[in-house]
């Protein structure tokens, strides 16, 4: 395998990690909308740790190996329109996913606090956070950004 092969493989692996995190968080958020018992919420949100690892590895990996590829490959330049678009999408995605994390980490932390206080009856407060339109809209936006990322990488507009 050449260095280009390795870089491409690692870049794509990071992209898979990012999408896996998106799938996991979307799955969690949609599942969480039907929950209101604190122990159920705390339990299912144990999966979010896996998502955080995948998301961080994916975000760092796509950026580092993507920039390295743009430098390594003769036909690509860092200032190509589609590369700049990818960098902008990366920054917007990082911001949006951080906001999503704030909404649902609050739900997870509240659920854990209620469990610790032995208050395991259905909680309207918890349910309201989990059914928040803001969280859902932000997650939908992050999914759309990832899709735009993939479209940009494959179509390479302007290349």
């Amino acid at each position: 395998m050449t260095r280009y092969d390795w870089l491409l493989f690692l870049h794509v692996l990071a992209a898979f990690s990012l999408v896996a995190a998106e799938v996991l968080f979307t799955f969690l958020i949609l599942s969480g909308r039907n929950l209101d018992v604190p122990s159920d919420v705390a339990r299912i949100f144990r999966l979010s740790r896996v998502g955080e690892v995948l998301l961080n590895a994916g975000l760092i990996g796509v950026l580092i190996f993507g920039i390295w590829l743009a430098i390594e490959v003769d036909g690509y330049k860092l200032w190509d329109g589609w590369v700049i678009a990818a960098l902008v999408l990366w920054a917007v995605f990082a911001d949006v996913s951080g906001r999503v994390g704030k909404v649902y980490n609050a739900a997870r932390d509240r659920a854990r606090a209620l469990v610790a206080e032995n208050r395991n009856e259905p909680s309207p407060e918890l349910s309201a956070i989990l059914r928040s339109q803001t969280g859902l809209v932000l997650q939908a936006a992050s999914v759309v950004i990832v899709l735009l990322f993939l479209i940009d990488m494959i179509y390479k507009p302007g290349a």
Binding site: M1, T2, Y4, D5, W6, L8, F9, V12, L13, A15, F16, V19, A20, A21, E22, V23, L24, F27, S31, D40, R43, I44, R46, L47, V50, L54, E72, V73, D74, G75, Y76, L147, L150, I151, I154, Y155, K156, A159
Partner: protein, 155 residues
């Protein structure tokens, strides 16, 4: 190394293939992670068994079809079906996609039966769910190997 710019008509089938493959791997990751967490705390086995089953059935299974249809489409577009012999990476792709699809189907059935058994009996572990976990993990590894073959394209 020159950048590989493909004809525009190849892009949509490739996008379908890639979106399907990435979501498929995502669904498998959710299922394997849920089964793993369920296995660590027996009290949670039933709840995580259901999560794993739903991830396989509602995420991984539809994504497999998108990946497979997109793969066949791009295979035909690129004229790989006219090559004799086929490159090795194409063979790796077909074997992992099709055999992996079969294993995925078996893991959905076993995972569903295991989750139902755990819910009904309130049991702490299920042999069927454990087998489903192992199968889903094998499929996940196979698809990561396929991903390597698709990107590195070894002869």
């Amino acid at each position: 190394m020159l950048a590989a710019i493909r004809p525009d008509s190849w892009n949509f089938p490739l996008l379908l293939h890639v979106v399907g493959a990435t979501v498929l791997v995502g669904g498998l990751v959710v299922a394997v992670a849920a089964q793993f967490l369920g296995g660590r705390r027996p009290d949670d086995a039933a709840a995580f068994g259901r999560v794993a089953f739903r991830a396989l059935l509602f995420v991984a299974f539809p994504a497999w079809w998108v990946m497979r249809v997109g793969g066949q489409w791009i295979y035909s577009k690129e004229g790989l079906d006219e090559l004799d012999p086929e490159p090795g990476w194409v063979g790796v792709g077909f074997v992992t996609a099709d055999f992996g699809g079969l294993l995925l189907l078996v893991s959905i059935v076993l995972g569903g039966l295991g989750a139902r058994g755990l819910s009904r009996t309130g049991g702490e572990s299920s042999l069927l769910a454990r087998i489903a976990t192992v199968l889903a993990a094998v499929v996940l590894v196979a698809y990561l190997v396929a991903m390597w073959a698709m990107t590195a394209k070894p002869d």
